[in-house]
């Protein structure tokens, strides 16, 4: 490969940037490899004198923490909403981006407005609705609403991208006699790989990391998620730093795997002639 000044510069920036961005991760890793006693007396930056995987072992085998059970719960509570949100948010974004209908622009403002009221004041009324539906201590509150449009953030994001797809494509399809819903399924969706992957990853990460939701809704510790379990390591009077950091690393791992395996979709670009 011939030497390219541009990509050499980019590589240098990438390496420096990665280094900076990984610094907090380094601290997390180092603390997860130390014993509790070592964390108390050594500098947080120092590499452990005798790195130990004990913290990981404790978390993975402790029957009270029940890592594998919680991982299973968390995966279910992340995958199901991801499917619902990605699918229905795309459906709702489609008319906002590409169709004419009565009240469109004002309904769009209504859509945005649902993001503007702080969740603190709707938390308890929302809890009361869930209680009235008999949904407390079940997974319904996490899965069912995900199929109702998937939230304003995602709809707005998808709308922006659908608006960027050139019109020529659906004009051509219309002339070929394609219906509006066919255009959505065959033209818009296939051309939106990267943004759909983005919405999916965001939703997955958000559900995986959700703390308040599971904490409030779920009572049974066996239904609980990893993030809530993780917080149990940080009690009011004594934080188990070593376990907390090892736990954070363990919780991050599945997300990183999902992210890396989604990469393929991120780079799938748009093509003016494609989509058929």
């Amino acid at each position: 490969m011939k030497f390219d000044r541009h990509s050499a510069g980019a590589s240098a920036l990438l390496i420096i940037g990665s280094f900076l961005f990984m610094l907090p991760m380094y601290l997390m890793l180092v603390m997860s490899l130390k014993t509790k006693a070592e964390i108390a007396v050594t500098s947080p930056w120092a590499w452990p004198s005798a790195p130990t995987l004990d913290n990981y072992r404790i978390l993975l085998t402790d029957t009270d923490f029940a890592f594998w059970r919680k991982l299973g719960n968390t995966l279910f509570l992340s995958v199901a909403p991801t499917i619902g949100v990605t699918l229905t948010a795309a459906m709702v974004a489609y008319p906002f981006a590409r169709l004419q209908f009565r009240g469109r622009d004002r309904l769009f403002l209504v859509l945005l407005s649902t993001m503007m009221l702080p969740g603190v004041v709707t938390m308890i009324p929302g809890y009361m609705i869930n209680a009235a539906l008999g949904w407390i201590d079940t997974y319904y509150p996490f899965v069912v609403p995900a199929f109702f449009g998937g939230g304003a953030f995602n709809i707005f994001l998808l709308r922006q991208f659908f608006l960027s797809i050139p019109r020529e494509m659906d004009e051509a399809a219309k002339i070929d006699g394609a219906s509006l819903s066919l255009i959505f399924w065959r033209m818009i969706l296939p051309n939106s790989g990267p943004v759909l992957a983005t919405v999916a990853v965001f939703t997955f990460v958000g559900s995986f990391r959700d703390f308040m939701g599971p904490l409030m809704i779920l009572n049974d510790p066996y239904k609980q998620t990893l993030e809530v379990g993780l917080r149990g390591l940080q009690t009011a009077r004594d934080t188990e730093w070593n376990l907390l950091m090892a736990g954070s690393m363990l919780v991050m791992l599945p997300i990183v795997i999902v992210f890396l395996s989604c990469q393929r979709y991120f780079v799938q670009g748009i093509s003016l002639t494609g989509g058929k």
């Binding site: 907090p24 009270d64 009565r102 993001m115 702080p118 938390m123 904490l215």
Partner: protein, 795 residues
């Protein structure tokens, strides 16, 4: 014949009763038991519950551990009427529940109970759980915070004999009393190195205000007139001023105790000093004992009760916990049986044996082999030698239990003590300021007590009108417009696609409308709301000075954070869009910090911003080229104290920049969005530009940037919405401080909602924020027509 029927009937009754009895025997009652325990404490708790179930086969216990936000969850459960049967209760949490009748008074049960005698419990912890003459929790443990841990090795090294339990404190070191004078000891045991830096502290309390509050209680002064129904503030009382000056000098001038500024981070660091042998006296509660037994190997240590003020009897702070029954329970008898197990000798003994809680029954606390070491205990299990003084500490416990309307003012009293002891604010002016501000708040709170019933009927009518008006606003402009055949079918298809959202909107709007109506009420979510008209809005906009401050700080933060966030995300995306080897991995690297849990990251960042050994200051003060340029010194002169490393999170000038810097590490999320946006640009445009011979710069300005405008617009709109609701870091890292510099809008709102239980006021605050964000968003939407370019927009 008649006798036959009678016999048959009787037989039937007998069979039925028998069946019922059998069923009751076969299916034990299940009680839900909510606890805030975690870790080892939860393990022991499970063991005790198993013992209870073995002894009571007709009752099963379902443990529901709640980690963090225990109070919020209990409130939501009470509001939705899905409370557990039994819960662990702290003295500072039960009052609002008891006041609303959510808890069952235990007095009748105890009166009938032959074994549980209240006079066997420490009277002060029983008092903590008494509300209007009734007992709402049976105490399980006492946690007196007037215990002073001594590092005897450091005493020996200084040649100072150990003080006795009769030691006292006064404002000046008493040279005559020597080791019996606390202030003298604190001075003598503080060591400085030859550069004048403290290498060993005489004294520290587990959290900074604890020492000040204990001094106040032991001196017998308060910042308000009385606890039952405070009506007046005494913050400028000469004794209060003298005391805060003393505490402030103790920390900031003499450096006998470390200030929070010296110790970046959480409460654990004072304890770490003690563990590292750099602290001679450490004030905390009995929960430290277990940890110190395990970790203070080779150190000679012991405990003493907090000294009394000269001439007064000892009085210190304390906490504890108990077990309560919710009044909604269907099984009060079984619940009580469980309460008396957990908070009676059985449960208490198990906890005490594990070293996890000092029993609330005094005799048990004094029995060797329970809380005190067994006669035949060996090694660390015998420590500390003076363990029986925890009894004295428990007897001297006192607590300022104030009514809810006074809670926020009591909280801010704690806050000012924290700020003064951190050296952020001077004592006298701070007290004067608090007296003026607090008095205004207090009068306002007392006025707020007068309320009237909520006019539900009128509210529903107004609600209907509002919803109708909303619908009219959406559809009126296009009403009666004739649509072509094609347009009508398009309209139909569009609404078909919108269907899931419209359905979901009903679920979203319910709680929104509810909170709107609540914003005109006084409500704690437990009792029915009381009508206050526009008063919440008036208070927020014209009286409560924390609102303008929180708005200002939030906007300052947003002003820097949003543009920086968008620009850095865009630049990163461009960088990550280059065709370099290993790009997928780099993308993961940049996204990783956004993936880590918010709390863990906050804790990590606290170590980075640490003034003494944090990475940031290390780079600024000690690393080339910054050290050569004197950047650090210049920053210290400009924003902090000259000659001292900058303490980012404890300095009102630097805490917001610190938050902005931290925000940059979360740019990964925005980068992903921009990356997707870059993929959305058809390659054909670039191919055409290259044929035309356009340079890279030209391609960027003519193609990339214009076609990214929809993404930039999205980032700006959601950035405003997200940033104005910034919350987590400010709670975890700075708790709104220093001096309210990070009292962001949501932090304030959250406190009002869940700490002061003013849900109506919090709702009003929320709707004010809603309107602010709405206005900004509408302006953005209007302006976007000028600069955002949509390839696929309708022409």
């Amino acid at each position: 014949m008649r006798t036959m029927t009678v016999i048959l009937r009787r037989a039937l009754v007998v069979v039925c009763v028998g069946l019922l009895f059998g069923l009751a025997q076969a299916a034990p009652v299940t009680l839900r038991y909510a606890v805030s325990d975690a870790g080892e404490s939860l393990t022991v708790l499970k063991r005790i519950v198993a013992d209870f179930e073995a002894a009571n086969p007709d009752v099963k216990i379902k443990i529901e551990p709640v980690v963090g936000s225990f109070r919020e969850k209990l409130m939501a459960m009470v509001a939705a009427r899905v409370t557990p049967d039994v819960a662990r209760m702290a003295p500072q949490d039960y009052q609002p529940l008891a006041a609303r009748g959510a808890l069952l008074p235990l007095d009748e049960f105890i009166a009938k109970d032959k074994e549980i005698r209240l006079d066997a419990y420490y009277p002060n912890i029983v008092g903590f759980f008494r509300y209007e003459g009734k007992l709402y929790a049976l105490p399980r443990e006492v946690a007196p915070t007037g215990i002073v841990y001594l590092n005897k090795d450091l005493f020996r090294k200084a040649g100072i004999p150990l003080p006795s339990a009769n030691w006292t404190w006064s404002y000046v070191p008493d040279e005559q009393l020597r080791q019996e004078s606390f202030t003298w000891l604190a001075r003598e045991l503080t060591r400085k190195d030859d550069r004048g830096r403290v290498s060993q502290y005489g004294y520290a309390s587990a959290w900074p205000q604890l020492m000040f509050e204990t001094l106040m209680i032991s001196r017998g002064v308060k910042m308000w007139d009385q606890n039952e129904r405070p009506t007046r503030l005494n913050a400028t009382d000469p004794e209060v001023v003298r005391l805060l000056n003393f505490a402030s000098d103790f920390v900031n001038k003499h450096q006998w105790a470390p200030s929070q500024v010296d110790l970046a981070g959480a409460n654990t660091s004072q304890r770490d000093l003690f563990l590292q042998g750099k602290l001679a006296m450490y004030q905390s509660g009995p929960w430290e004992i277990l940890k110190f037994r395990k970790e203070l190997r080779g150190v000679d240590w012991d405990i003493l009760p907090f000294p009394a003020y000269t001439g007064l009897s000892p009085r210190t702070k304390g906490e504890g916990s108990g077990t309560s029954i919710f009044s909604a329970t269907r099984y009060p008898e079984q619940s009580y049986r469980f309460v008396r197990w957990m908070s009676g000798p059985q449960g208490m003994t198990e906890f005490a044996k594990a070293g996890l809680g000092q029993p609330a029954i005094r005799a048990l606390a004094m029995t060797p082999g329970v809380w005190l070491p067994a006669k035949d205990a060996t090694g660390v299990d015998r420590l500390p030698a003076n363990l029986q003084i925890t009894d004295l500490a428990a007897q001297s416990m006192a607590m300022d239990l104030v009514p809810e309307y006074f809670r926020p003012i009591a909280d801010s009293a704690q806050g000012i003590a924290f700020d003064v002891l951190s050296g952020v604010r001077p004592p006298v002016e701070t007290l004067r300021d608090f007296q003026a501000r607090g008095t205004r708040d207090l009068q306002n709170q007392i006025r707020r007590q007068q309320t009237t019933e909520y006019p539900t009927g009128i509210a529903i009518a107004i609600g209907t009108v509002l919803v109708t008006m909303g619908l009219l606003w959406i559809y009126w402009p296009e009403f009666g417009k004739k649509l072509s055949q094609a347009a009508r079918s398009e309209n139909r298809v569009a609404y078909l696609f919108l269907l899931p959202w419209i359905f979901g909107l009903l679920l979203t709007f319910g709680p929104m409308i509810y909170s709107f109506f609540l914003s005109f009420a006084e409500s704690d979510m437990i009792q029915s709301p009381k009508w206050v008209g526009l008063r919440n809005y008036q208070d927020a906009l014209f009286i409560d000075d924390s609102v303008p401050i929180s708005i200002r700080q939030t906007f300052i933060f947003a002003l820097f954070s949003i543009p920086l966030g968008v620009v850095s995300a865009l630049l990163l995306a461009l960088l990550l869009n280059t065709k370099v080897k290993g790009i997928p991995l780099y993308r993961a690297f940049f996204y990783l910090p956004s993936l880590a849990s918010g709390v863990a990251m906050s804790l990590i960042w606290m170590r980075i911003f640490n003034p003494n050994n944090g990475l940031l200051n290390h780079i600024l003060y000690h690393t080339w080229p910054f050290s050569q340029l004197g950047i650090g010194q210049w920053l210290s002169d400009f924003a902090g104290k000259p000659g001292e490393p900058l303490n980012w999170l404890a300095n009102t000038k630097t805490v917001i920049p610190a938050f902005v810097i931290m925000g940059l590490w979360g740019a990964g999320g925005g980068t992903i969005i921009f990356l997707a946006g870059l993929q959305g640009i058809a390659t054909q445009y670039y191919e055409a530009a290259i044929i035309d011979g356009a340079s890279r710069q030209k391609q960027f300005w003519r193609i990339t940037l214009p076609l990214l405008t929809p993404t930039i617009f999205f980032s700006l709109v959601t950035g405003v919405i997200g940033t104005l609701q910034v919350f987590t870091q400010a709670v975890v890292m700075t708790d709104g401080g220093p001096d309210r510099a990070t009292l962001f809008y949501m932090v304030n709102l959250y406190r009002q909602a869940f700490q002061s239980l003013k849900m109506g006021y919090a709702s009003a605050l929320a709707w004010i924020l809603f309107v602010i964000i709405l206005i900004i968003t509408v302006i953005q939407l209007q302006a976007s027509k000028r600069w955002v370019h949509y390839e696929g927009d309708l022409k």
